[in-house]
Every structure is written in C-alpha cells, then in structure tokens.
C-alpha cells in the first residue's frame, strides 16, 4: 500500500450531505472510511474541525466501534466468523491454519499488506457454518484447505 498525500477535500461532500442531520458522527466516519479505507489522523483532525466535534470525542467513538480502523489494512480482507455456530463447527482450527499457512496474526495485516485477518462474531448465516468472508464474498461450509488455496490465488 503506497502512502500518498491525503486529499482531504474528499471529505467535503460527505460533510455537506450530513450537515443538517442530528447525531451524524458515525455515518460521517463510516463514509470517510469508505473513501480512505481507514481513518488516518489527518482525516480525523479535518472532520473534527469541519463539524465542530472535539477530536477527543471522535477518537472515543472510533475506538469504541469495531468497524473503524486507525491503521491501514491489507488489500484482501479475510473475515473468519467465530460466532457460536461457527465455533462449534470448527472455526478455531481454520483461524489457526490460516495464521500458520499465511504467516498472519489475527487482527493484523501481513507486512506487504496483502491480507488482513479479522475475527468477526456472527454474520448471521449460521446454517452454513463455518463461514468466511473474503473481500465481501461469503463462503459457507469452509475448510482450511480450500480457503488457503483460494487466498494464495489472490495477488
């Protein structure tokens, strides 16, 4: 992932859209993260100035919710569900296997930012446990072998 200078003007249309709405901090942060893929400090500072909410308060919100990332993320997001049904049907082994095979750690990205491995709790498709989501594509009844094979094929 190359670090380019951030174009903070991309925030303007988002802030304009939510200007009149009460309690819009979370949607603004969500939209900003869609644009920058994570929430760098500069973005938070800029949002804070533009909407008049103290940076400390924004930081409080960002660190509270699992969805927000303060660190850059990998090109491919691998979310392994460890919800109850998936846990009972073998998710812990899948997580261990991915960590071993791809030299990843849960919750982290690899040094090349190729993958980010996330543990999520319940995507609501428990009937097809264990569930793994790779870049928004949901895979049911996953096995470690097929999943690792699929991940290796991603660039």
């Amino acid at each position: 992932m190359s670090i380019e200078p951030l174009d903070l003007t991309l925030l303007d249309p988002i802030i304009l859209e939510y200007k009149e709405q009460k309690g819009a901090v979370i949607p603004i942060l969500q939209r900003a993260q869609e644009v920058y893929s994570y929430l760098p400090k500069e973005v938070l500072v800029s949002i804070s100035k533009k909407i008049g909410v103290p940076l400390s308060q924004l930081y409080g919100v960002v660190t509270f919710y699992a969805q927000f990332n303060l660190e850059p993320r990998g090109r491919h997001i691998v979310s392994v569900c460890d919800g109850t049904a998936c846990h009972v049907r073998g998710a812990p082994k899948i997580i261990d296997d991915i960590e071993g095979a791809l030299n990843l750690e849960r919750g982290c990205s690899d040094p090349d930012f190729r993958y980010t491995l996330e543990i999520v709790y319940c995507l609501g498709s428990c009937g097809l446990a264990p569930i793994v989501v790779v870049d928004d594509q949901v895979y049911g009844k996953t096995t470690s072998e097929t999943l690792i094979e699929r991940l290796r094929q991603l660039d």
């Binding site: 049904a85 009972v88 446990a129 049911g140």
Partner: protein, 637 residues
C-alpha cells in the same frame, strides 16, 4: 405509483395485486430463488445465473422471482418451480450443474424430478403434484406456526405489491380507520405479546408508558442490532419481509404518538439494509410513510441508522447513545427510554420480531394471537437452530413446545449418530440446558426457571464433542471483549472469570477456582450497569450447574472428556469396535496408526499429535477419548 388516500383504495390495490399474481401464476411459469444471505453464501447467485442462461437457451417465457429465506438453511440454495396453475415444487441443494436438467425436465417437459425435489407448496389451490410431500407434511415444517416469518421465502421482499397482496398494510389501515391509540394499546395488551428481544416485557404496556410520557417529539425505534452469535432471525425478517417491520413500527408510532422513527441495523447485514431502504422508498411512494398517511392526520418518517460494530448496542440505552452519534455506552435506568430516550425524548424500542408480528395482531385480533402458545407466553417463538443438528435453519414454533420436539422433530436430531449433550439458548448471555431438561416447555418463564433464558432466539445444539468448560470460556471471551468498559463489575469481572476458565482448560485449575467463579459471577450479576454485565456469567453458571463433573475432571484428573482442551486427553482405539477398515490410517497425518486390514488397529501414542483427524474419520465410534496417562501401566514406571 400514487399515494393512497384511504383504506378503500388499499383494498382496491390489494385486489389488483392479487389478480396480477393469480394471472401470473396461471399464465406463466415462475422460478423462485432463495436469495437471503444464507442462500447467497451457499451459491444462489451462481444458480440464478445458470437458471437465466438456461431459460434463454430454451427461449422460455418465465418469470423469475427472488425471495427471502424460507428458513431451511441446510437445504440452500433452494429453487422453486411453479408451472401455470400448478403447485410450487422446491428443489434443494441446487448446484449450477443441476440447473439444465431441472429446467429441461420441469419447465420444458413438465415433469418434476423426484430425486431432487424436496417438497411442494400447494397454497390451497387444490392442484397437487402426485408423489411429493407437502411442506406441511415435512417434519421440519409440521410443528411450525409462522407468524413473524409468514412471508419469508414466500413473497418477493422487494415488491410492495406482493406484500399488499398478502394483507400487507391492512393492519395499519384498520388502525387508522377508527381505532384510537388507546384501542391499539389495549389490543396489544390483550394479545399478551411479550418483547421478542429477550427480556419478555409486555409490548402493550411498554407502548402505554411511552404514550403517557410527556415530551415531544416521541420516537419509535426498531432494534435490529442482532449481535448474538448464532442468531439470524431478525436478519431473515428484514431480508425476507421488510414491509412487515415498517408496518409494525407505523402502528406503534400511531399508538404512542410518534412522528419519527429509526431502524438501528448492524452494519454486518448489508442485504437487510439494502432491502429495508428499498422498502422505505416504496412505502413513501404509496404514502404509508410521510404526511397524512392514508388520508388521516397521522404522519410518520422512518430512517435507518447503521451500527458500527458493538455488541453492547443491542442494549436499548446504548443503542440510543449510538443513534445520537456517541460511544454506545449504556446508562443506568430509570429513567427508561419510554420517559427519556433518544435526545431525551420519550422513545419506544422494540425488537424486529415484535414489530413484524404487530400487523397480524391488528388484522386477526388479540384473541387469535393469544390462542397460540401458553397463557403467560402467548404466540410463537422464532429460533435460529444451529450447531450440531441435522436441520439447521430458522424456525417458528408455538410457545410451550418442548426442547425435545424442537431438537429431535423439527431439527431432525444430531448428525452422525452422536449424543446430544446440551442446548444453548439466549446466546452468549443465556445459558445451556442438559439432556435431562429436554422436556422443558419453551416459553419465557419455563426457560428462566430451568436455568437458561429465552433470549432473542439463538438456539445452539452441541454434542458429545463439545467441551462445556471450553464452550463457557468461548462465551466469556466474546462477552468480555464486548464489554464497553464503563462499569467495573463487567469490565474487571469478565476478565477475571475468563482467566479462571482459561486456567481450567489448560489443566491448571483448582477446586477453589469453582468457588471463585461463583463469587465473581454473583458480584457481576448484582453490580453491573446493564444486561451485558449482569448476564455475562450466565453461560458459565449454567454449565457449572449442569456439567460440574466436566469441570471437576479438568481439575482433578487433568482430563477433558470431550477431547477438546489441548494436552488433556489422548485417543485410543477400542479393539472390540474397530473393524480394521483403515479410514483412520488414511486420515492420520503423522503415521501414528498401524494395523493389519480387518484387524483392530493401534495408535502409537509417541507419534500421535491429538489432531483428531482419526476421530472425525471413524464412522463407528471406535476411537475413544481417554485420559492422557491411562495407557502407561503402573508396573512399567
């Protein structure tokens, strides 16, 4: 589309919609594909593409309808085919390469494929396909009564007309043409509906509190932050029948006098949010939302708020804080949200299922609803049935049905002839019940009395291969990670409990630890601010109560009877049961198993890594979980 001005216009619209649907059913063949999240995860998108391609190849005039989830997750992807004037025939576990044959034989040659067909849905039309079960005759559906899930998998969730055809918005029309807000509340109270989010508070009473509260504007909020792992009832309703939730919220808003409402939906449910957004647009076009609804003086606006990933936001005060754009931390109650909720105004928070049921109560009456279920828990219960069970899926059963009926009849029992061990209800804040409790009736009070909770509807079945200590530790990991950290008993207590449990699963526990668990749990229950902290010890307490011997085995014998906790068990082959088939030899990754064919095999303990591959591979249960040291005879030391 034009705005409807009164109930009569809705009637007309319904007649027209019904006529159109009937015409379609008689004139054209229809293909229904289950496109809920679970269907898509199982490959429904590829199946739909294959169907489309095949229809184009044969140049057929066929209507394709995407429906929500019918609840039979284990059979996904599901494809229903309906020939003109004929019943809907469902094909289960459809793969793209099955599609050409299904289209060719069923749509072109008009013969159903018996081998692949699962059941038929006659819809009272009289026409029946010979030699195929009806849905109602299938064990999975036989015991079900569908109220909240009535339309899921039946109608196109993206078509408001299809919802109107099945009495949609009729409850709202009835309420707006002649019922006073108090009448609506009385009807709800008479129905006995208790909040389906888990706490089971009477919905009508809750509405009344909010109606009587001073303050303006008031808010109606739908809690769709379905955070319990293993629960997906609310997602399914939002994906399969979003209008029922909107209609329920409208009725609540009329009763309490609220001009504005929010659906707080977790961001992990993108399809539910998409369908709900579409439904809101359609409802606005017909004037079910907006100003002067159905020509009355009642106006209502509805918005969606996406969650950002925090389990505690399922708690109503935390949810309200999150809508306000703050950290989703709960606050002490009272004041309850009915008095001081969103932006300090009176607010009514109900679960998705409670709202989805409401229109039916208005249309069919409180007596009809209270005739289902038990006197103190009326109506139906929706469960997401998952874990080690044959028919995983979404079910809706009358309250009062026993756990045994749910697990062994509706659920079809435990796979691979394994032993039922426990059922976890109420998610990570609920509790588990053992085999002895299988005859407990499923209702709010009986489950609580038995040591579990109703919760919002997750029901996870585990078999002999699940270690109850590790299972409890798993729930604690979840609950303590999701603690918001505001109050001390929850923040520290959860961590301490987790440490104790972890110690036990690593073989370092002591009997004093069991007292420690009870002591911490007691304090958490009494001292925590919200339900998350109060109920976090639930699964540990329940498993300690019903499976104490497993805890003691971990502590006294350093033995995990389920063969889960690393280093606390070993595998051994039972010579009497082993036929020498060699499946375990093939499965073994470390060449630890030897033996002559058709003779009992042996595991070399020095090589065995306890990976469990042989245990999973053996079809006869000949591989046993044994104590780690049992194999070394005392004389040999």
């Amino acid at each position: 589309m034009t705005v409807l001005n009164n109930a009569a216009e809705l009637d007309q619209l319904q007649k027209a919609a019904l006529a159109r649907l009937e015409e379609r059913a008689n004139a054209k063949a229809t293909v229904y594909i289950g496109m809920g999240t679970c269907g898509v995860a199982a490959g429904a998108t590829q199946v739909a593409q294959a169907v489309q391609a095949e229809i184009a190849t044969h140049n057929l005039d066929v209507e394709m309808v995407n429906v929500g989830c019918i609840g039979m997750c284990v059979k996904e992807p599901l494809v229903d085919i309906q020939l003109p004037g004929r019943p809907r025939v469902t094909y289960a576990n459809v793969t793209p390469d099955m599609v050409p044959r299904i289209i060719d034989e069923h749509l072109v040659k008009k013969q159903f494929i018996k081998k692949w067909a699962f059941a038929q849905l006659t819809n009272g039309s009289g026409a029946r396909v010979e030699g195929l079960k009806e849905y109602a005759e299938h064990p999975f559906y036989r015991n079900q009564v569908r109220v909240a899930l009535r339309n899921c998998g039946m109608i196109d969730p993206e078509s408001i007309d299809e919802y109107i055809a099945v009495d949609g918005y009729k409850g709202l029309a009835k309420v707006l043409s002649g019922m006073e807000p108090q009448d609506v509340i009385d009807e709800m109270k008479d129905s006995g509906l208790r909040g389906r989010g888990g706490a089971g508070f009477l919905t009508g009473v809750k509405w009344e509190f909010c109606m009587r509260a001073r303050g303006y504007p008031k808010y109606v909020i739908c809690n769709a932050d379905e955070g319990d792992p293993g629960a997906f009832m609310d997602r399914s309703i939002l994906e399969g029948d979003p209008h029922s939730v909107i209609e329920g919220m409208l009725i609540a808003a009329y009763a309490i006098g609220a001009p504005e409402g929010y659906v707080y939906c977790r961001a992990e449910y993108p399809l539910a949010i998409k369908r709900l957004k579409k439904a809101i647009v359609q409802a606005n076009e017909y004037g079910f939302l907006g100003e002067n609804i159905l020509g009355s003086s009642f106006s209502f606006q509805l918005k969606i708020k996406e969650g950002a990933g925090a389990f505690v936001c399922g708690e109503e005060t935390a949810l309200i804080a999150s809508i306000e754009g703050k950290r989703g931390e709960p606050r002490p109650r009272p004041p309850y949200p009915a008095v001081s909720g969103l932006w300090g105004k009176p607010s009514n928070v109900n679960n998705v299922k409670s709202y989805a049921i409401t229109p039916q109560i208005m249309v069919k009456g409180a007596d009809w609803f209270s005739s289902i279920g038990t006197p103190t828990s009326t109506g139906t219960a929706v469960f997401a049935l998952t874990g080690k069970i044959n028919n995983t899926g979404l079910i809706e059963v009358p309250m009062g049905i026993t756990l045994r009926e749910i697990i062994f009849e509706v659920g079809g029992g435990i796979p691979k002839k394994k032993q039922f061990k426990a059922v976890q209800t109420g998610g990570p804040l609920g509790g588990c019940l053992p085999a002895e409790a299988l005859d407990t009736p499923v209702d709010f009070d009986s489950l609580t009395k038995a040591g579990a909770t109703m919760g919002s509807g997750g029901m996870i079945v585990v078999d002999q291969d699940t270690c109850m200590v590790e299972f409890a530790r798993y729930f604690l990991t979840f609950a303590s990670a999701e603690s918001c950290g505001k109050c001390v008993p929850c923040r520290i207590g959860g961590q301490r409990l987790l440490e104790v449990l972890t110690r036990i699963t690593q073989g370092q526990g002591t009997l004093e630890d069991l007292d420690e668990i009870e002591y911490i749990s007691q304090n958490m229950r009494e001292g925590s601010l919200c339900a998350l902290g109060q109920l976090t010890p639930g699964p540990v307490m329940a498993s300690l109560r019903f499976f104490r011997e497993e805890y003691e085995a971990h502590i006294n014998e350093k033995f995990c009877p389920a063969g889960v906790c690393a280093g606390m068990y070993t595998y051994e082959i039972d010579a009497d049961l082993c036929p020498g088939c060699g499946l375990c030899v093939k499965a073994c990754t470390s060449d630890a198993i030897t033996g002559t064919r058709k003779e009992p095999h042996v595991i070399n303990q020095a090589k065995c890594l306890q990976c469990g591959a042989c245990y999973q591979a053996c079809n006869l249960g000949a591989i046993l979980v044994k104590h780690k040291h049992e194999l070394i005879p005392l004389e040999a030391i």
